[in-house]
């Protein structure tokens, strides 16, 4: 059943990167329902169930959030802050997935209570491996609320 599959919210503005993530999940046959938001505003609309995402049935709470930092409209860090300031949303693990290795981004992310910080590997094999392990860890091993 589609609705019983866990939902992952992927917030990523780069369509190529989003495709890479989706395809790697697909290849690993993870039983997940991936929601893709292409900017910060859309991500917040989804999470706060605003606008086109007002229906709770079609916009289920994600089990995990994958968050890119540099986003159009609303910056990734601001999205993170909104999530962690919300009494309900703050319990959802937020995994920052970005190209940035800048210390300032790490500090800001962790200061805003990011649950994990992952740098997108340039190397294809490593990228695939990371996605695989990420799926296993957060969907199998990790205990959500």
């Amino acid at each position: 059943m589609e609705t019983q599959k866990p939902t992952i919210l992927l917030i990523e503005d780069n369509p190529d990167h989003a495709e890479l993530v989706l395809r790697s999940f697909r290849d690993h046959q993870l039983s997940v329902n991936i929601k893709h938001a292409t900017d910060g505003e859309m991500a917040l609309d989804y999470l706060l169930r605003q606008g086109q995402f007002s229906d709770a049935a079609t916009s289920p709470r994600p089990l995990v959030i994958l968050l890119d930092l540099r986003l159009p409209k609303v910056d990734g860090l601001d999205v993170l802050k909104v999530i962690k300031a919300d009494n309900e949303l703050r319990r959802i693990p937020v995994i920052v997935l970005t190209t940035s290795e800048a210390e300032i981004d790490l500090v800001r992310a962790y200061d805003s209570y990011a649950n994990s910080y992952l740098v997108k590997p340039v190397d294809f094999d490593k990228f695939i491996k990371l996605m695989n392990q990420l799926g296993i860890y957060w969907l199998d091993w990790n205990h959500p609320i």
């Binding site: 990167h17 292409t38 159009p72 970005t98 190209t99």
Partner: protein, 638 residues
């Protein structure tokens, strides 16, 4: 001000002056008093002696009268009692000042015929010749002397065989005395003669004596009986010893003793009448050893001294006041410049460096000049310091500004590196990722997927190339610039429109120039880039049928260029961000997100500003391009 110079000087000097003045005055007074006393006492004593002699003159005359009578009787050989009686009567009638005139013979000493004259006028019962012519009755009359054996006027001449002034006695209400002289025959006492005299005239004479101002004189007999005295009732009835007892004044006893012994001198005592301190000068009358006493009030003897003392006090006090005033003035003249200096110093301390104190003479003047000099030096130093501080401040401000600029540049650079690395890394991930899938596609023989992946790789590569080109372009702005020139903006805008003609046509957009555009001076190719970019954006994000307007307007004294579209507008939240590097509001849109960053950089290089005004009816990009001709020329000259 309690311990001010003035007060201290007064406290120090005034008592000293007081002491000196008081000492001098006391010495003067003491010496003057001594001198005055000596002079007064000598003068008064002499005067007392002179008065004694004057008073004695009448006594002497009376005594001589008695003696003349005695000598006459001694030489009388007729022994005619009647003749003598007549003689006596004549004397009495001739001398109205006499109360009585008399002779008295020892029994039968006159002519041995006493028995013939028993109880005759001028004779006693035994016929003894002792006629006493007197004025005790209404007219001169004669009677016989009685009680001779108990009377001094008989006993004294008989005993001493010398003339004598008999102690005065009060006789029927007035004081009188007897001047008697013995009648001697062959050295044998045979009788005596005498006159009785009222002492009223002496009292009158003594009363006339003036002693100083309010003093008085009195006359006492040898035994101290008052003969002349201011209170007439006491005359003849009171004596010195009585007064001494009455007034408890032992000095009067001493006086009585001195007079009895016929001495002269003075005695300091209390006046029995007024109770004042007086000096009594006494001198004896040589005939009778009576005493004349002059009572001189001490107050008046020393009147000169007291006047001198008063003057000395007045002069002393005046001197004291003058000295005090002089000291106060001197101290003030000393303290005033000091106070001025002190006030000026306070004023200077408050920062008023123009404060000068008036010059003066002497040490104060030196101090004042030193103070003024100090103030001037202080002013110079402070001015120099202030200048220095201002220079430092300016340098510091300049430095701060440079640091701030550097920090901004640094932050910009950091952000630049950060975004560049991110934006370069992004296509790299895409390329490597899809390269990885190419292999899988090939193995799976999925030609469609293969084509799609290759397209993605190509697109990413293009994007990377464009990114690198634009980065290069951005780095050139400001660093490499075309020579500034004057040009027609209108022509330039037309060129820009032509450059984006493809997109205009594709979107069916309408682009118009509102009004005329001015001539400009600047980097022409770059400014064309600005307008090309803005027009391209406007067409890209305009409404369904984009309408773009380019024009100018005057705003707050400067010329503002604008490019307006009729798009859906931009959320005010993004107004600042859109000019940053790699900012794209629409991730789906093409481009690197560097366009507006480049535009902004060009405008800033031309020292202009760029901003966006936006609402639901569209966005307007505004920019200023100041006329840099002057500044540029200056830079060239440098």
């Amino acid at each position: 001000m309690r311990y001010s110079i003035r007060n201290r000087m007064i406290v120090l000097i005034v008592p000293l002056v007081c002491l000196i003045l008081a000492g001098k005055s006391l010495l003067t007074l003491w010496m003057t008093t001594e001198a005055q006393a000596e002079r007064s006492y000598a003068a008064s004593s002499e005067q007392a002696s002179r008065y004694a002699n004057e008073l004695d003159a009448s006594n002497l005359a009376n005594l001589r009268q008695a003696c003349t009578l005695a000598r006459m009787l001694e030489c009388n050989t007729t022994h005619n009692r009647a003749e003598i009686m007549t003689g006596l009567e004549n004397i009495l009638r001739k001398r109205p000042d006499l109360i009585g005139v008399y002779v008295g013979f020892e029994p039968n000493a006159f002519d041995a015929n006493d028995r013939l004259y028993r109880s005759a006028p001028g004779h006693d019962a035994t016929g003894r010749f002792a006629p006493y012519w007197n004025r005790l009755g209404p007219s001169p009359s004669v009677e016989a002397l009685t009680d001779m054996d108990s009377s001094d006027w008989y006993l004294i001449p008989k005993r001493t065989k010398r003339s004598a002034v008999i102690e005065p006695l009060n006789y029927h209400g007035f004081l009188m005395t007897s001047f008697v002289c013995p009648i001697l025959k062959d050295g044998r006492f045979i009788g005596f003669s005498g006159v009785d005299v009222s002492l009223k005239h002496l009292d009158a004479d003594v009363a006339k004596i003036k002693v100083f101002k309010t003093g008085y004189a009195f006359l006492v007999s040898n035994t101290g009986t008052l003969i002349a005295w201011p209170d007439k009732r006491l005359i003849g009835t009171q004596n010195l010893r009585g007064l001494a007892a009455k007034h408890h004044n032992q000095d009067l006893n001493l006086l009585a003793q001195a007079i009895q012994q016929g001495r002269n001198g003075f005695i300091k005592t209390r006046d029995p009448i007024s109770g004042r301190d007086v000096v009594m000068f006494y001198a004896p009358l040589s005939t009778c050893k009576w005493g004349i006493v002059m009572v001189a009030p001490v107050q008046e003897i020393f009147a000169n001294v007291y006047r001198l003392r008063n003057w000395l006090i007045i002069i002393g006090l005046s001197a004291l006041i003058l000295v005090t005033i002089a000291i106060a003035l001197a101290a003030n003249s000393l303290a005033k410049p000091i106070m001025q200096l002190s006030l000026a110093a306070d004023y200077v301390a408050q920062g008023h460096l123009d404060q000068h104190v008036p010059d003066g003479r002497g040490e104060i003047g030196v101090l004042a000049r030193a103070f003024n000099n100090m103030t001037d030096q202080l002013k110079l130093t402070i001015t120099a310091l202030e200048q220095h501080v201002n220079e430092l401040k300016a340098a510091r401000a300049n430095q701060d500004k440079l640091i701030e600029e550097l920090e901004i540049k640094n932050a910009e650079l950091e952000r630049f590196t950060y975004t560049v690395s991110h934006d370069l890394k992004s296509p790299l991930i895409t390329i490597k990722g899809f390269l990885g899938y190419l292999e899988q596609d090939a193995i799976a023989g999925d030609a469609v997927q293969l084509k799609a992946d290759i397209d993605r790789i190509a697109s990413a590569t293009d994007k990377m190339q464009q990114l690198l080109l634009e980065l290069l372009e951005l780095s050139r702005i400001g660093r490499l610039q075309n020579p500034y020139e004057e040009f027609e903006l209108e022509a330039l805008v037309q060129e820009a429109i032509t450059l984006v003609a493809g997109r205009i046509k594709a979107r069916g957009a309408e682009v118009i120039i509102n009004g005329t555009l001015p001539r400009l001076y600047g980097d022409r190719p770059r400014i064309r880039e600005v307008f090309e970019n803005l027009i391209d954006n406007a067409v890209k994000y305009g409404g369904n049928v984009p309408h773009v307007e380019i024009g100018t307007r005057q705003q707050a004294g400067e010329l503002v260029f604008y490019v307006q579209d009729n798009g859906s507008g931009i959320d005010p939240r993004y107004h600042a961000r859109i000019f940053s590097l790699f900012e794209k509001l629409d991730p789906a849109s093409e481009g690197t997100g560097m366009g507006l960053a480049i535009v902004k950089r060009i405008v800033e290089v031309h020292k202009g500003r760029i901003w966006v005004e936006s609402d639901a009816t569209g966005s307007t990009f505004c920019l200023t391009l100041p006329d840099n001709r002057q500044a540029n020329l200056e830079e060239d000259n440098l």
